[in-house]
Symmetry: C2
Subunit: 364 residues, 2 copies
């Protein structure tokens, strides 16, 4: 699966073809079904070559005439038909709105189409996988989080937006960045920062101007819009990506999701992951190197447990990562990005990041 930037008409065609296949079965008086690739861990693997979590080839058939399938079959067609309408009317909406829009009681019955949103959400993922499209391309928006600044001009819904002229606020990354056009991108790299406080500090110090960078904060775990934006910028303009998180398993996992994708969205790692991303810190070794011991925090049991799990993840198998994970487990401390402020508020801008970039001191 290669990254696909599908036009709206192409997604509509995919949905039509799903419907037509079902319809043909009906006409032939056969039992209609939809084919859905299996997403459980048994069908997820880490592709050493592309460095991405990917889905295997196992596929399940969801039949209409099957006691255990019938309801899900109906739900799948309802959601597919709803998405086709969204696309045809060029409307976007959220998963929750879709749930409300589709929830109703079937005539002459006490059966609801959907009782809870947790029934309709997975159907959307089913369609993503089955049709090889992104949820965003079905016009269903995800959580929004994240802001970005830099020497970049984009076009979005007819507006030209200059990311270098947005004051202290930055551009709020929307849930859907599929239709954004990049008009000008003048940057040497992308710096992705986990926390907004560090983003604001770097923004105020004009780090992105001085270093010709695009500065982006995910504000915690990266939302899909942010991940897709990082990937598009990185691949379409061949830009290195440096990810900057707390020195703890949670921060490192945020990095790995940006780079490789996540287990439950393995089918779209190729469109949300950025394998070229590198980790610029904080690592446990950074604490030694930059003398941050005064500002470490005791690791919690859950941190240690998480680090031990991550030791076994294929995408943390690199000796450098194994070393960091083991160091955390051994020393039982971690550090936040804010620990760098212990060395002075401008330490991160003037010393830490320039040193790491100059010496290419990254983790893979």
């Amino acid at each position: 699966m290669k990254m696909l930037r599908l036009k709206r008409e192409e997604v509509i065609k995919k949905l039509q073809s799903l419907g037509l296949k079902v319809w043909k079965k009906v006409e032939r008086k056969e039992n209609p079904y939809v084919e859905i690739p299996i997403r459980s861990l048994s069908n997820v693997r880490f592709d050493e070559k592309t460095k991405a979590l990917t889905l295997g080839n196992k596929v399940a058939k969801r039949y209409f005439f099957h006691v255990a399938h019938a309801k899900k079959f109906m739900q799948t067609l309802l959601v597919a038909s709803f998405c086709k309408e969204l696309l045809e009317q060029n409307l976007h909406t959220s998963l929750r709105d879709m749930f409300y829009a589709l929830k109703r009681t079937l005539p002459n019955s006490k059966e609801n189409t959907f009782d809870e949103q947790k029934e309709s959400d997975p159907i959307v993922v089913d369609l993503e996988v089955a049709l090889n499209v992104l949820r965003e391309q079905l016009h269903l928006s995800a959580d929004v989080r994240g802001r970005v600044v830099g020497n970049v001009v984009i076009e979005d819904r007819g507006d030209l937006i200059d990311w270098s002229k947005l004051g202290s606020g930055g551009w709020a990354i929307p849930s859907n960045v599929e239709d954004i056009e990049f008009k000008k991108v003048k940057a040497k790299f992308i710096l992705v920062v986990e926390k907004n406080a560090a983003f604001e500090r770097l923004h105020e110090d004009k780090f992105w101007k001085k270093h010709k960078a695009i500065l982006l904060t995910t504000q915690g775990q990266a939302a899909r819009g942010a991940r897709r934006l990082i990937q598009r910028l990185s691949t379409e303009f061949d830009l290195p990506v440096y990810v900057f998180t707390d020195s703890d398993p949670y921060g490192w996992y945020i990095y790995s999701v940006i780079k490789y994708g996540s287990i439950n969205l393995a089918h779209i790692s190729d469109r949300l992951g950025t394998p070229a991303a590198k980790f610029i810190g904080l690592s446990i070794s950074d604490i030694d190197r930059f003398g941050l011991h005064n500002w470490t925090i005791k690791a919690k049991d859950v941190d240690i447990k998480r680090a031990k799990e991550m030791l076994r993840y294929p995408w943390f198998k690199h000796p450098k990562w194994q070393k960091e994970l083991k160091l955390l487990i051994k020393r039982k401390y971690k550090a936040e990005l804010e620990a760098l402020s212990g060395k002075g508020l401008r330490f991160v801008t003037e010393k830490y990041l320039p040193t790491k970039i100059k010496e290419k001191d990254f983790l893979p």
Copy 2:
């Protein structure tokens, strides 16, 4: 206390004067102290005239030579001195960064200046109250959340930002909006939406263009930056504010915080609250009026409990609010903004909001 937009030099002067008072006591060989207004509930009241939660006149003295005060006295002066430096260097930072920057072990002792951030945070509030300034004016940033669009041009850090030309993303509201200058504000009202999904829906339907509105989402409980921005726009341009939240106690509380302020920040209600704000929905009565019963949700025990508490809040004493709270308790259901999508995705844009605005069907 009136709303104050202080210049940086004026805040520095206030901090200097705090230090000078202490210094004079030292010179006179008296026991130095700082005066901090008391913030506990006993000193908080609801001002019926200004419709804001406000602080009474009770003041506590924090002494240097006093076993129970000495550490807090030191911490207060440390934070004040740190803020003075921030202002003099024109730097901004977060509460967490400040904690790290100030945390150290006192010479020849095992005593730390601060052990945990929960010691330094309240000192900042102490200074806010004692000096009658906002935390943002001390250059300490708060959480960021929220985005805004509309026919508005602002100047921020030398950039001119046109909120009508930001594509689907909007302007990310920063934590500090003190220094923003409004260059052009063409709007008849401000629509504040609790949820981003509803914001995106309204934004896509160009609601703000058609109705000459400023459209803002708080993305949950409003962060200080968003509250201050709403207040500044409302008071400086005499704009009505309509707040649009879920029909549940949590949503209604979000409204009340925007309007009146919150209990723990009562000392700055006058600078964060917008008493002119009105509630445009959803109420329980709206569920009847707009036929949303199919999309209600069972209220949880915690909703009922919260509604019962709110019945007693002076700022929910209006008969119309008492009615809504009692309706929720009686019917044991609530509704989300997304419930409106049950009537069609454009129902909120084309029917619900225009009807409510036209008929001025607001809650106070």
